[in-house]
Assembly symmetry: C2
Homo-oligomer: 476 residues x 2
């Protein structure tokens, strides 16, 4: 066992170093010999399993079924939708050989699976009775990033789900867009304790192949925004490219409408980054694999007495997947630091005096607050405190998000806002040329635009009419 | 919706065609544009999810944790263990390019993950306190088969778990070998209703890199054997190749002992093949995603009355994930055929006369037996019948397995047994040269050897002393 040292930098002094140290030292992830690919160690994989399980339940309620399509995509299939391939081809990993043989045709490792799934859809969908078709897969994808990799946030392989749904009518597809963006937003709020900006991506930033994209955007502590789960309305673009059609109730041939949507392992990194503090991770209780750690304070004379009570308490901690840390070769202080680094929401301390007084000390990871509770009330106290931690983390993150937004009316105001590590909110025209100009002058991009608002007056950056209220920021 | 036609060949007349038709027409899988890779459609993926969930629960009870390691393995890592690479290199898919760039070093797509996991193990394991380390991943692997692909049974990409455990002591690792082989055997029995031959693989057929391998072997209806889940005792082979060592309690450097073990999506194909009949799939109730289908017999005059009762029954079918098939544009007979093809264990028929008599007709998929039950007893009847189907399927498969075994005392007897599509059981020396001779003369290979028996007298194939009681057969 390598002794864990604590985090040696402060989060607000050197965020990037703080983040890496926190992820690696808390044993969430580790680097590997494959540049840009990490190990998801048990502690982060358990969180991903919870995300999968909870999201999957919600998707099944929407009538979505899981399936699994091949990892490989023949080159000619990947090339079928022009915008799509333009977006993805710079980052595709190519298989060219198998054993000692060169392949006749290169195979792409899926960066996303539209182009391998939709030929099957074209085969399966014949009649209106086959619709809607709502398939989802939980899998790994590869996008060969040439930028510096950051564990969870940007890497060459990540885990995600990809939903690919097909509807007879445009309205049905657009109704699902609303259901999905609501699902993403509420899942991030309720489980990850993360507030987001929900809105529509710009023409320039939308998904390659989509008519429009809706996203959730999160604010990182270093002032950069990062995109979270999203949903894309593809209209009939892929149906045209892949010959997906159906006979309607009048036996007339029609093209269906499609959506795709995803949440990825990136969200774990966003959560670690936003909630963590100088001591390490702070995990929201609803997502923490172990919600409580019980640390008996052991002295030679009173050890047996304390351990007996600790064992009794341990039984009540099962529902929290509680850990009893009764290792004797580490000091209590060392253990406190270790579990703080790992982000366990609640620490329960039990010393000889506590045993005498039939009490224990609960320490909140988020605030450090110590609460003395009677042993008979311990689970009801823990329940209440876990709920409170969940809410507090969300409220704190929400405050940080909204404090970081400034309304801007000119490009130079946006520059000033960005220099303060904040996000600019502006009336905007939405045009690609205008966005390119903004990017050239400020190094920002549009994050997304609020639903149901066209803004007022003119675009903050050009002379055109405002069509959106849009957030701009530096981004991952 | 493409109208399903039934299976057009008989299972015992043309097994291979029967198998393919059954898999494709029941919508378990479909071919894709990627040769050798299938789509796992929702009906089979739901079965895989059940397999994962149930196996995962059992593994967690053994103290196993899940993690996720990269898909890619740098060529020099893959090459580290000589026997291992010799076994796998002929079937490795190689990534050579990313975007427009040629990679400095080729990356293998994992055929199995020892060589990407163990460098991390070497880093993480320092002291006896870090052991045992028991990690598992559920992922996709690629083995570039040049033989004819068969859905589920042999393909270029499949889904599996891979457990990789590390112990300080040989006895601990060997104890886990027993736990795992017992887990595989009982899981296959209890859930898939599949009996297996459990035993040790020969020197020639063991896992590339292992000291020894234990396997489960199944008998397919065409007389070929197929290997199921297995577990490998790697001794210190990989510890040596990857420099995995630890300081024991006396601070002395030691090499640990390792196991690896896996169950794959192949087992779904084995189950479909063994239990299916001329009408299509027969799914064991414990693994069937939908255990019951209710088909109301609808005539114009009595439709409302029958549907009202059907809806009442439907509520009670929730715990079976029951399906109410009230489609009016298909005849009852057409529906019977469809659900039989898809293997749903129980069909409940409800006609106007049944409603009058407060009864329904239960039809067993395995035997075709019809049982009239009172509506008030319907769930207790279904419970009992589902259990009975599960047991019957297992007993039938067990009989088929043991009927297919013949004791053989010479190579020419083995040939005769094989010509009858059976398995030979023989006293055997276990030597690689002898196995090669047997293979050359009979086109069979050893499946595995019974535990705790060295056999009697001499090897059936050569003059050496018998060391094993071994099963020989043609195999997938």
């Amino acid at each position: 066992m390598v002794k864990q040292e604590g985090i040696t930098v402060k989060k607000d002094e050197n965020f990037s170093e703080w983040y890496t140290q926190t992820i690696i030292k808390s044993e969430m992830a580790d680097y590997t010999a494959v540049s840009g690919s990490i190990v998801y160690r048990p502690k982060s994989y358990a969180i991903w399993e919870t995300i999968q399980r909870e999201v999957d339940k919600k998707l099944k309620k929407l009538g979505v079924q899981n399936a699994y399509f091949p990892l490989f995509i023949p080159e000619k299939y990947l090339m079928k939708e022009a915008n799509h391939i333009e977006g993805f081809s710079p980052e595709v990993a190519w298989v060219t050989h198998a054993g000692n043989s060169k392949l006749d045709e290169r195979l792409a490792i899926r960066p996303t699976s539209e182009t391998i799934m939709y030929p099957s859809y074209a085969k399966w969908i014949r009649s209106w009775k086959d619709l809607p078709l709502k398939l989802n897969q939980w899998n790994n994808v590869v996008r060969w990033e040439f930028k510096h990799a950051v564990p969870f946030l940007r890497g060459r392989e990540f885990l995600w789900n990809e939903g690919h749904t097909v509807f007879a009518k445009r309205e049905e597809a657009e109704k699902e867009m609303k259901d999905i963006i609501k699902l993403w937003d509420s899942f991030c709020k309720d489980y990850l304790a993360l507030p987001s900006l929900v809105g529509q991506k710009s023409e320039k930033e939308k998904f390659a192949g989509a008519e429009y994209t809706w996203s959730t955007e999160f604010m990182m502590p270093n002032g950069k925004a990062i995109q979270g789960p999203d949903t894309h309305f593809d209209g009939q673009n892929f149906a045209k490219a892949f010959d997906i059609s159906f006979l309607d109730e009048n036996e007339k041939k029609q093209l269906p409408y499609q959506n795709t949507w995803a949440i990825s392992t990136r969200m774990m990194g966003v959560m670690f980054a936003i909630h963590g503090d100088d001591k390490g991770l702070v995990l929201p209780p609803k997502i923490a694999p172990n919600k409580v750690v019980l640390i008996p304070i052991l002295f030679t004379k009173t050890k047996d007495k304390v351990m007996k009570v600790a064992k009794d308490i341990e039984k009540n901690l099962k529902k929290y997947d509680g850990i009893l840390d009764d290792r004797e070769d580490y000091s209590a202080g060392w253990k406190f630091n270790e579990w703080e680094l790992k982000g366990i929401p609640i620490r329960v301390e039990l010393g000889p005096k506590d045993v005498e007084n039939k009490q224990a000390v609960i320490v909140r990871r988020d605030s450090g607050e110590k609460i003395v509770v009677k042993l008979k009330d311990i689970t009801s106290s823990i329940d209440k405190i876990l709920e409170d931690i969940q809410t507090s983390l969300f409220e704190k993150a929400k405050k940080a998000l909204y404090n970081s937004i400034e309304e801007v009316e000119t490009i130079s105001e946006l520059k000033k806002t960005i220099s303060k590590k904040k996000i600019g909110k502006a009336n905007w025209c939405g045009k690609i040329a205008c966005e390119e100009n903004i990017k050239a002058k400020t190094s920002t991009k549009s994050l997304n635009s609020e639903f149901n608002s066209k803004g007022k007056g003119k675009c903050f950056a050009c002379e055109a009419k405002s069509e959106y209220v849009t957030y701009f920021g530096k981004s991952y």
